[in-house]
Symmetry: C2
Subunit: 322 residues, 2 copies
């Protein structure tokens, strides 16, 4: 089996482009995500000196804040502001352009679900348990360096002989991929404003569908039902036009993401049927040979959680299925 | 059927005692919930002038903030600071002692789940659909007045002829109740610090069990798996000693509560078996005769969401079942 993943092992980083959280957040009284990153300590825009506050045009009028116990890294890559600090409750926290991407103690639901929802649904356990090839495409080398240093459990797989780490543009990589080459593509994208917007639109989905084998699967980050139902409806409309196998919306809880939840689009190409809602691989019951055994057992994902991820509250179900 | 509820129709208010969020939050650098409530506009402890920030000893080092579009009410009752404001994303917001209790656009998951998880599980639909008697016990008359004025969809039932609204101490009311009198008790409590602490401990659970009929059910607010697993484990240990029917933990998402999730304990007394995980009443499929029809259809709860509420991530499942 071959898998293309923007970050198989974790943080919400790949296909991040600079300024994706916007530089002109007038709705937040002129506060910008960049300002938070640059002038953080003692910044009058953060909740108080020594705290990080997450403002964005994507969630105007609300902000989540964390006290910085210890600032570990702060810098500007070619693409974005990168900051890493130690928090009290969630351990190490990685932010890009002022938006929380991964936390040590609270990021694992996102990580485990974006990988195992699609891979648990492919009916070829032998090829899945012994993955032959994974391409990881990450645009920002600073993100790779920071992950290696501070999130060893995320970056351990960078050195796996089956993994090829490509520093480059994930969208261009997918577009250039051989038709029908991949079994699975995982799009661990940032939010759909700025350049990353393309990753939520039809031409990108068409490139993904082309790169997948018949009955291949894609999992993309698909925002919160509380904040962005209009974006979700648009993604679903695009996916229904492009993916002729099945199109599904799933969600999970992440304590440090806005509104506490995040969604995923799970789609398959025409070919062998993929029933995402009833996983064929009981990943949580795997023995020592499990590919993740080096990293310890899964903390969030299990087969029941997989099935429950597709169950939606009535208001979201009505909007999504209409 | 007879039901005792601290607030059948909604906000997380009853059995709130004054100062439940603590007056000496030294871990937050001396900020107190009370300070937030009193000196809100322009307060240096809020995220910025005109914003509300939710600090608590129960979630030190993190805070959720909302921009106040319009301050509608601010006052001090005999028991607590009461504030009501209009927010951009979540509509009207009610806070008690600086902690968010209910929001107009984001509070319904909590409300619907705390009522329908227990009541959907009782195998007497006829008596359930036509509830004969509901006692609501609320300690704070200011909370009742504010709810009547600003949350008509929550307080409509105060005038229902089947409802008796008692202004008083819920714990004392339960203790004094006739043994075996109630089919269901819903404890819509605040957090377990200060006087409300008693509502999470064994003597209160014993009073609840005594007030319930054989096979009667209780649903209590039971905190977040991300923040308070040690509290949850203690509640479960107490419930296992007191409730001889069944003891279950369920959870749901609420976008404006810390970490985005909240839990419930669902227990039954010895008697006719109650299988909470497989509801006997398909409340979401009810026709016009449904008790809630006056208030419109349920927005969050449905039978599948009910079942999914009992499915836990692996780390929580391991801790709760051990």
């Amino acid at each position: 089996m071959e898998v293309i993943s923007t970050q198989t092992n974790g943080s919400a980083i790949t296909m991040n482009y600079s300024h994706h959280n916007g530089n002109s957040d007038h709705r937040n009284g002129g506060t910008t995500a960049h300002d938070n990153g640059r002038k953080l300590l003692g910044n009058s825009n953060s909740i108080k000196p020594g705290w990080f506050s997450e403002f964005s045009v994507l969630w105007p009028g609300e902000a989540f804040s964390l006290k910085i116990e210890n600032l570990l890294f702060q810098g500007k890559s070619d693409y974005q502001d990168v900051m890493l600090f130690e928090s009290a409750t969630y351990g190490k926290v990685l932010t890009l352009d002022g938006a929380i991407q991964h936390t040590e103690n609270g990021g694992f639901p996102y990580t485990e679900m974006i990988v195992h929802l699609p891979l648990g649904s492919i009916p070829k356990p032998k090829k899945f348990f012994v993955v032959e090839k994974i391409d990881i495409i990450e645009i920002d080398d600073v993100v790779v360096d920071v992950s290696r240093k501070f999130f060893p459990y995320l970056s351990a797989n960078f050195n796996d002989p089956r993994v090829t780490l490509v520093l480059g543009d994930g969208a261009a990589f997918v577009k250039a991929a051989q038709a029908g080459y991949y079994d699975a593509i995982i799009v661990d994208s940032s939010d759909p404003i700025g350049p990353a917007k393309d990753l939520f639109e039809r031409p990108f989905f068409e490139a993904v569908a082309k790169a997948l084998r018949p009955g291949g699967v894609v999992c993309t980050q698909a925002e919160s039902i509380w904040l962005h139902m209009h974006i979700i409806k648009q993604i679903i409309a695009n996916c229904r036009q492009v993916f002729k196998g099945s199109v599904n919306y799933a969600w999970t809880t992440v304590p440090t993401y806005p509104t506490g939840v995040i969604g995923y689009m799970l789609c398959s190409t025409e070919g062998p049927e993929v029933d995402f809602k009833n996983p064929v691989n009981a990943i949580d019951k795997l023995d020592e040979t499990h590919v993740n055994s080096k990293l310890g057992p899964l903390k969030f994902y299990n087969t029941d959680i997989h099935k429950a991820a597709f169950i939606l509250p009535s208001f979201a179900k009505n909007l999504i299925e209409s």
